[in-house]
């Protein structure tokens, strides 16, 4: 029925002071797929991801133009409620940042803010910890501080915490860069399952990770969206010279 994707970007430009970080980006992000944003460091990948969540505006001297449409609503329209927009998107950062509270409270934080009933909380917490693949490891120590978990477990806790507000989209900013290979593998495996229910956007500078995970790829270079398309096309038959060179490792 709804042919339009959850997330559409139209003519988005972002600049920090006088430096342009993103130049006139337009793209539709496919639903219930993993979309990887690839490109060299400092080219605007994270900026694009954070623009989806309106996290950019808290910095100084940021100017944003263009539109980001979530379910056809422009998130930069000042009439829209920012907390409702952010609720639709879960965020995973490079290094996991659990909240300064217990494992249980970390997952319960979002639902509690959005008014889930107290008597359903145990069930809710259990449900999302299970989805994030952490339940078996923490079920006996739910009330311990989140800081006692290993960093890989913390990242899965952050995933559970994000999922608990029932988002449609998961934004992940190099979510495995601080993790050991085993934990990274677990996160990647999670993503492959989660894409059945969620639209996932992952920023990565690891090309092999993008190859393993992505269904759709955006290649960004110096703030410009050079090329985007299905993963197979980008990796096997890139149209643009620059994409070719990046995929082959000539530029990085």
């Amino acid at each position: 029925m709804d042919a339009k994707p959850h997330l559409q970007v139209k003519n988005l430009s972002v600049s920090y002071g006088t430096t342009a970080a993103l130049k006139n980006i337009s793209v539709d992000i496919p639903d219930k797929k993993i979309t990887a944003i690839i490109g060299p460091s400092g080219c605007g990948k994270s900026t694009l991801l954070r623009a989806f969540n309106r996290l950019l505006e808290d910095g100084d001297e940021v100017s944003i133009s263009g539109q980001v449409l979530v379910d056809n609503e422009d998130i930069y329209d000042p009439r829209n409620d920012i907390t409702q927009i952010r609720k639709k998107m879960g965020l995973l950062s490079q290094k996991p940042y659990p909240l300064p509270m217990s494992i249980f409270e970390n997952v319960a934080y979002g639902p509690r803010i959005h008014g889930i009933k107290k008597n359903r909380m145990d069930e809710t917490v259990r449900h999302y910890l299970t989805i994030a693949g952490l339940w078996e490891e923490v079920k006996d120590r739910l009330h311990e501080p989140a800081t006692r978990l290993s960093i890989g477990q913390q990242q899965r806790l952050c995933l559970a915490r994000g999922l608990a507000v029932e988002p449609e989209i998961i934004l992940a900013d190099e979510p495995t860069s601080a993790l050991d290979p085993k934990s990274s593998q677990k996160i990647e495996a999670e993503f492959k399952v989660l894409k059945n229910d969620y639209t996932i956007i992952i920023v990565t500078h690891i090309l092999r990770q993008a190859r393993r995970l992505a269904d759709y790829v955006l290649f960004i270079y110096l703030g410009e969206l050079i090329e985007h398309g299905p993963a197979r096309q980008i990796f096997e038959n890139p149209q643009h010279e620059m994409t070719k060179e990046y995929i082959q490792g000539i530029i990085s």
Partner: protein
């Protein structure tokens, strides 16, 4: 070449020794001060000192104790700390959570706090006294509480600011991206993360307030009795020490040191209790 090396080594050794020496002087001062207070005060220390009000003469009786000043100091400073906390927490949360980084208002507030910090306590005392005259209040517990809370507010707020401004931006973002408002983030995440720092700030402020004589000299006054209402004058330990030390009688002077010992122990008790109470929060802190 070899000569140069030894010269460098000697230089290194000399400066290391100097720094270590200075560091030890700090510790030595602590030992000396506490030692002096204990040695000179222990003779007059008895149960009466902490359970009775002064007897046998106005202010400086040689009998009885300083219960009036203990109660006065405790009630006055605790109230002042509570008021300062209620004032400084919103200020600090505002400049760190709501105001944009390096916004003009935040800079102005930080600058004001720094200036206020630098104003000597006697000036706060004089200011408080003027305000009290304006409102027709005489030297009283209330006057003391208001003046001391003004005096310790910048100390507390700036100490909290130091801690809260160190909270990583990602922690704010983690909360925002779950759909939390700034207020929810400030209340549920930031205050929890910085609880030990907030308590330390309150303790530093309490310590400064409880030990200050100049700010309460005109505003709280002094009394041999324990105040029964906010509008009665209240004795404080620093002033008790001040008056007792100023007498020509050796036995009263000795009581000044006993009072100093009580003041030191009081600060110690408050500090340990507060740290004990916040230990629970410490383990949750995100590094």
């Amino acid at each position: 070449m070899k000569k140069k090396m030894t010269a460098k080594k000697i230089e290194e050794a000399v400066f290391k020794a100097l720094m270590k020496g200075c560091a030890l002087v700090v510790f030595g001062c602590l030992v000396l001060i506490i030692g002096t207070v204990i040695i000179k005060g222990i003779g007059s220390m008895n149960l009466d000192m902490i359970t009775k009000t002064p007897e046998g003469g106005y202010y400086l009786g040689k009998e009885g104790g300083v219960l009036n000043a203990i109660v006065g100091s405790f009630v006055l400073t605790l109230s002042a700390t509570a008021i300062a906390l209620l004032m400084s927490l919103p200020v600090v949360l505002y400049i760190n959570v709501y105001a944009k980084k390096n916004s003009r208002l935040a800079t102005l507030i930080r600058l004001s706090l720094d200036f206020l910090w630098g104003i000597p306590s006697i000036v706060y005392g004089a200011f408080g006294f003027t305000v009290m005259i304006f409102f027709g209040i005489t030297a009283s517990l209330l006057g003391g509480i208001i003046t001391v809370s003004l005096f310790i507010l910048p100390i507390m707020a700036r100490a909290m600011d130091e801690v809260i401004s160190l909270v990583p931006g990602e922690l704010f973002e983690a909360s925002y991206s779950l759909g939390a408002t700034k207020f929810e983030t400030a209340l549920k995440v930031i205050t929890r993360q910085t609880m030990p720092g907030i308590v330390s700030a309150a303790l530093i402020a309490f310590g400064r307030g409880v030990g200050d004589a100049a700010s309460v000299l005109f505003t709280a006054g002094f009394s041999d009795r324990i105040p029964l209402s906010l509008l009665q004058p209240a004795a404080t330990l620093p002033l008790a020490i001040f008056f007792q030390l100023g007498t020509p009688f050796p036995e009263v002077q000795e009581r000044a040191y006993a009072s100093a010992l009580i003041l030191t122990i009081l600060i110690l008790i408050v500090s340990v209790t507060a740290r004990f109470l916040t230990a629970r929060f410490r383990r949750h802190i995100i590094q």
